[in-house]
Every structure is written in structure tokens, then in C-alpha cells.
């Protein structure tokens, strides 16, 4: 059993979706995340165990490698796709026990900004690490974040911006959320953003990479 967990974690780490998938080339014709997850379920392993002992282990490794510049967006996307393939098997099991997810993360690119690559990557990594993700998309106004926070009490909010000009909107949105309820934790990220800016606008956390967001959530949501 341990061996199957390891194999599944390996498939997630290296982005092996399923048997027919040609990537990575050195895993040609081998079982992928899709097949192994099904196999584990067939053997009576709980969905939660599969998530905790294989999927999250694999995603965490990708997250760390991404942070260390050992892998890049294409590889992380493949890992996320492998994760999706596994989660498709697990989701029906989770539907009956909503408590099994670690917490909720609301994410969006701030008003005026239409860029979504960074936001999507963070969303994928966070989801891959066992959180429910509410993706509000791009060009999101403060009210929409607040509305979502009302709907999911205890959720952490993530704000993304790529443009230097929308950093101001990030500040306004942070202030609006905090004045609505200062207990809502807010983390920010994006190319022009840094720790100084985070301190200046009163957000709770700045992270340069998705793994940092996961670690912030692990600390905050408990």
C-alpha cells in the first residue's frame, strides 16, 4: 500500500496524468494518477487518506521545487492536471463529508487587472494542498470579495495583481475588506508586489510563490 501511495505522489510530482499521457516521456505506458487513485479506492483506502498521504505529498514537492526554480509553470500545470485526474475520483467521496477539507481560500485578481496566470497557479496549488478554493476570476471589486467572505466564514482572501497601476486597487480592496471585518486574513501576491507594499497596505501576508501561500494558510487556518 505504501508503495502505491509513493507511486501516486510521484505521478503528481512529475505530472503523469494517466496511462495514455505522453508526459513525462520516461513514464511512457505506465499508470498515472488516474489509474493509481482508482486502484487505491478499489482496495478500500479512504479518499482522505489518498489525499493526505499521496496527493498533498506530491503537490508539496512540486511547490517546493517551483519555489527553488527547479521546475516552472509548464511542469506545475502538468502536476495540477494529474491532481485533477485524481481528485475526480475522490470528489464524490468528499461530497458526503464536507469537513474533510482544510479550509476555504477565496482568490481573485483585483479590479482593473485582467491577468490570471499567477492567480490560477496559486489557486491550483492551494487546491492541490487540500483547501476548497473559491475563484472569483479577474477584475474583482472589493464588494465581491466581501460578499464571498460573508458566504464562507473563516475563509482567507488572496489578492493578485500584475499591473503596477492596479496595486492601488489592491490597497483599496484590502482596506475595504479590513474595515468590513478586520479579522479576515488577506494575503497578496503578483509581479509588482513585495513585502514592503504588503506592510504599507495592511495585508497579512505577502508570498512570492504559491507554496508560500500554502504555508501561510497552513499556519492561519486552524
Amino acid at each position: 500500500m505504501e508503495e502505491l501511495f509513493e507511486q501516486l505522489a510521484y505521478c503528481i510530482e512529475y505530472g503523469k496524468i494517466n496511462k495514455p499521457s505522453p508526459f513525462p516521456p520516461d513514464m511512457k505506458d505506465k499508470d498515472g494518477a488516474d489509474e493509481i487513485t482508482q486502484q487505491l479506492l478499489n482496495e478500500g483506502i479512504s479518499a482522505d487518506d489518498i489525499l493526505q498521504k499521496a496527493l498533498i505529498v506530491g503537490m508539496e514537492k512540486v511547490g517546493v521545487k517551483f519555489r527553488e526554480n527547479k521546475v516552472f509553470v509548464p511542469q506545475v500545470l502538468m502536476s495540477a492536471k494529474a491532481m485533477d485526474a485524481a481528485m475526480a475520483h475522490l470528489k464524490p467521496h468528499f461530497a458526503n463529508s464536507p469537513g474533510s477539507q482544510k479550509g476555504t481560500f477565496i482568490i481573485g485578481t483585483v479590479e482593473g487587472d485582467l491577468h490570471d496566470i499567477g492567480k490560477n497557479l496559486v489557486a491550483m496549488m492551494v487546491e492541490g494542498n487540500g483547501y476548497e478554493v473559491i475563484d472569483l476570476g479577474t477584475d474583482v471589486k472589493a464588494e465581491k470579495f466581501i460578499e464571498a467572505a460573508e458566504q464562507y466564514p473563516g475563509a482567507v482572501i488572496g489578492l493578485s495583481a500584475l499591473l503596477t497601476t492596479t496595486m492601488n486597487n489592491m490597497e483599496e480592496i484590502t482596506k475595504a475588506i479590513k474595515s468590513h471585518n478586520r479579522n479576515i486574513a488577506i494575503c497578496i501576491g503578483g509581479a509588482p508586489v513585495n513585502q514592503d507594499f504588503c506592510d504599507k497596505i495592511g495585508a497579512d501576508s505577502y508570498n512570492p510563490d504559491p507554496q508560500g501561500v500554502v504555508e501561510f494558510l497552513n499556519k492561519t487556518v486552524e
Partner: protein, 452 residues
């Protein structure tokens, strides 16, 4: 020397007398004219007017005609959303929405806004024969992303041959744009491919390198210069970028400039960057802008380096900050003073000057940048030398170059603020301007009369 010559020299890795400076003015020029990005980037007349305003204010050696990576995408049918204070954004990806690659044609240069930027290039060329004009084209990988969206990352892994077909197409578009820019008078073609910062070196070599090499060769054959721009943290790809044989690479503050310098020079490629775009130029003040620019210049050096912001200047960048950088670039004296004041912050100790003075002689200290490379410094030292000649051993003088630590310490110890300065028996007497010999002699007489 003309700006264009400085840029050419830098790109040929020849030593330059002054580091060339290329402010990446895009929609920022719209702000200079008090208009929105939409009004600015949709009008040839406004672009010409805006670039002229930027040239007047920032005294650059080179400047982009337009910084807008959506021009080709728009001509290929991507939908744009326009904004007041940003270049437009691509919001639809035709290849994702059912259009087939076979149905896409390399656009005619008469399409969408292509003729507008080409006409602007032609007019600016006539108006500014001495400034290097940069024609910016969307890099093939970034254009592929505009067309297909982020699905390209997965396609690279799952169906690599399809990605190659797409890159072939976007490269043909890049060649068309480069050719037109060159025909209309651009000196440098900047291939702006920021999305390559998101991929690993192996993917870069597989999917990007062959195409960029081809564009670089095309540009070289047309007797123009090529510069590969990448914004974002592309440290992992600097090496493979250099191996595509561009004349220059340009990077932003995410990548340490010393690393880029070493890598680029190893491959005999010139390099540019990387004044901090947001925390310094946009949000900082003139002082911070000068200091950051100086740091870049000191790391970059006078061989192969072009000073530039990390990427397209934010529209609301205060013009004072860019004027401050421009003044610094053109004033070696200011650079020296700033360098000295930086050194002051490094906790250098003041010198003990108790044995420096003499009861029977006038001691003259001349604080300079370095009389061998700075003309005013040289004239000042010469003037003191000639004035002192008549007094034999009654006068001793020494030059203190602030390029050396001792010079900086002396400058601090004597309380000197400007360069060059003449100090006599510890008193600041002449600042910056070269005094007539007789004025120096008069001062020497004055100090001598105080001696025993």
C-alpha cells in the same frame, strides 16, 4: 557623442565614455501629454508628440516608438480591453475559441494599429536622426500565449509538434513586424517576450531558441540591432537567451544585474536594465531614483551596458524621477558626489588630520573624481599646479580621487560636498568652477601671511 552611436558602441561591447540611457517610455508618454492610454496608443500623432515630449524631458540615447505588446494580437483577432492608465489587455484567445491555426494569416502591415506605429517610426526617424529608435515587437512565445492562452503550457508537454507549428506562425508575424520597423527607420528591434520567464531552460531551448535565433539573424542581415527583452524573473534563462545571439538582452529588477552582466559578457552579448520600476521609479523619490540608477551604472560598467528601467514604465511614474536619472547619466560629477555620499553611509572613518597641516607651508587639497578621466578635475589640478609653482616648497598640494577610499575619507574629513573642490589649510575655497590662477595665488598669499 550622438546617442545612437553610444548605443551602437555599447552593443558592440566597446568601451563608452558615458553609459547610454534608454527610458522605456510607453503609455507613460500619454500621461506626459495628460491623456489616457487609450487616447495615446490609438493615435499616431499622439505617439509622435508623446515620444517628443519624453525626449525633451529625459534626454535619452534611445527610446521605444511604442510599448504595447497587444498590437500584433489585435491584428490577429484577439479582443482587447482598453484602459485609462494601462496598455490594453488581451481578453480572448482565438485558438482556444475554436479558430484553427490554418485559418490565421500573417497580418498585412496595413492592418489594425500596425500602420500607425510604422508611420510614427518614420516621423520620429526624420525628427531625431541622432537617437536610437527601438521598434518593439511581441516575442513569438508571448504572441503564442495571446493566441492560445495558458493552454500552451500543457500543449508543450502533451503535443509538442503543435506548439512548434504555433511558434512557426508567431515567428513569421515577428519577422513581418521586424522588417517593417526596420524599413521605417528603427535602429534596434526589441523582441519583447516576457512570458518566457515562466518556462524552464530546456523548454526555452526546445520551443523558443530556434525561433528567436532566426529573428535575430534576420535583424542582423537587415543591418539593424536586436535586443531580447524579458520582464519577470527569468534568471534561469539568461544563459539560453544569450545563446540565441542577440546584440543585447534587457532584464528587470527581478534578476541581479551582476549575474546578467557576467553571463552576457561571457557570451559576448551586451545587456541592459534594471532600475526598479515600481518601488523606486513609481513610488520612490528623485533621490532614490538617482541612487538606484547609480548602483545599476556601477554594476553595469562602461562596456556593453545600457541603463534602462526594468520594463515598460508605469504610466504615472513621476517625471521628476526620470529627469533625475537623466541628469545623473549626463553628469559624471554628480555621479561622483553621489558615490561619495553613499560611501559616507558605509561608516567610513574620518581621517586624523592633525599631522596633515604645516606651520610653515600652505597645504592645498584638491578633491576630484579623478583628474585622468574627468576634464574639470584635470583643469582644476592644473590650475593649482601652476599657481603653486611660484612658491616652491612653501606650498604643497595633493589630489584626492574619490574613486579611491582615501579620497572619500578625505572628502568627509574636510566636509567637502561637491566635486571638484580646492581646500586650503582645511578651508573650502573653490567649488566646482576652475578659478583664475591669480585668484588661487591671492588665497595662497593670504594663508602664507598667517604663517610664522
Amino acid at each position: 557623442m550622438k546617442g545612437i552611436e553610444l548605443i551602437k558602441k555599447a552593443m558592440r561591447l566597446e568601451e563608452v565614455e558615458r553609459i547610454p540611457w534608454v527610458p522605456f517610455v510607453g503609455s507613460h508618454a500619454g500621461a506626459l501629454l495628460g491623456m489616457t492610454a487609450t487616447e495615446y496608443l490609438q493615435s499616431k500623432d499622439n505617439i509622435v508628440k508623446g515620444v517628443n515630449e519624453a525626449i525633451k524631458l529625459y534626454n535619452p540615447d534611445g527610446i521605444p516608438v511604442a510599448f504595447d505588446l497587444q498590437i500584433e494580437a489585435e491584428a490577429l483577432g484577439c479582443q482587447l480591453v482598453w484602459a485609462d492608465n494601462n496598455p490594453p489587455a488581451v481578453v480572448s484567445h482565438p485558438l482556444k475559441d475554436g479558430v484553427s491555426l490554418n485559418d490565421l494569416k500573417v497580418p498585412c502591415p496595413c492592418k489594425a494599429r500596425i500602420p500607425l506605429v510604422m508611420e510614427a517610426t518614420r516621423e520620429l526617424r526624420e525628427q531625431h536622426p541622432d537617437i536610437a529608435l527601438y521598434g518593439l515587437i511581441t516575442g513569438p512565445f508571448t504572441l503564442a500565449l495571446h493566441l492560445l492562452g495558458t493552454d500552451i503550457f500543457m500543449q508543450m508537454m502533451m503535443e509538442p509538434e503543435k506548439t512548434h507549428q504555433l511558434m512557426r506562425f508567431t515567428t513569421n508575424v515577428a519577422l513581418m513586424m521586424a522588417g517593417n520597423y526596420i524599413e521605417n527607420g528603427a535602429d534596434v528591434i526589441a523582441i519583447v517576450d516576457p512570458m518566457t520567464s515562466q518556462i524552464d531552460p530546456m523548454s526555452f531551448e526546445t520551443f523558443v531558441s530556434p525561433y528567436i535565433k532566426e529573428v535575430n539573424e534576420f535583424i542582423r542581415e537587415a543591418d539593424a540591432l536586436s535586443s531580447f527583452f524579458v520582464c519577470g524573473n527569468a534568471k534561469q534563462n539568461i544563459e539560453v537567451m544569450c545563446q540565441t545571439n542577440p546584440d543585447n538582452i534587457s532584464i528587470d529588477e527581478n534578476i541581479p544585474l551582476d549575474y546578467v552582466r557576467d553571463t552576457a559578457l561571457k557570451h559576448k552579448v551586451s545587456f541592459g536594465g534594471n532600475i526598479k520600476l515600481t518601488v523606486v521609479l513609481l513610488m520612490g523619490d528623485e533621490e532614490a531614483s538617482r541612487r538606484d540608477a547609480l548602483e545599476c551604472m556601477d554594476i553595469g560598467g562602461k562596456k556593453g551596458f545600457i541603463l534602462a528601467p526594468g520594463c515598460d514604465l508605469a504610466m504615472e511614474t513621476p517625471k521628476e524621477n526620470l529627469v533625475a536619472v537623466s541628469e545623473l547619466v549626463h553628469d559624471e560629477m554628480l555621479q561622483g558626489e553621489l558615490r561619495a555620499s553613499e560611501a559616507k553611509q558605509m561608516d567610513l572613518e574620518k581621517l586624523d588630520l592633525s599631522n596633515h597641516w604645516d606651520d610653515s607651508k600652505v597645504v592645498i587639497d584638491i578633491i576630484t573624481l579623478d583628474s585622468s578621466s574627468c576634464a574639470p578635475c584635470q583643469y582644476m589640478v592644473d590650475a593649482v599646479d601652476r599657481a603653486a609653482a611660484d612658491y616652491g616648497d612653501k606650498v604643497v598640494y595633493k589630489e584626492h580621487r574619490i574613486k579611491e577610499k582615501e579620497g572619500v575619507q578625505m572628502m568627509m574629513s574636510l566636509g567637502v560636498q561637491n566635486l571638484p573642490t580646492i581646500v586650503m589649510d582645511g578651508n573650502i575655497e573653490f567649488i566646482s568652477q576652475i578659478p583664475p590662477i591669480n585668484d588661487i595665488k591671492g588665497k595662497i598669499e593670504h594663508y602664507l601671511s598667517n604663517k610664522n
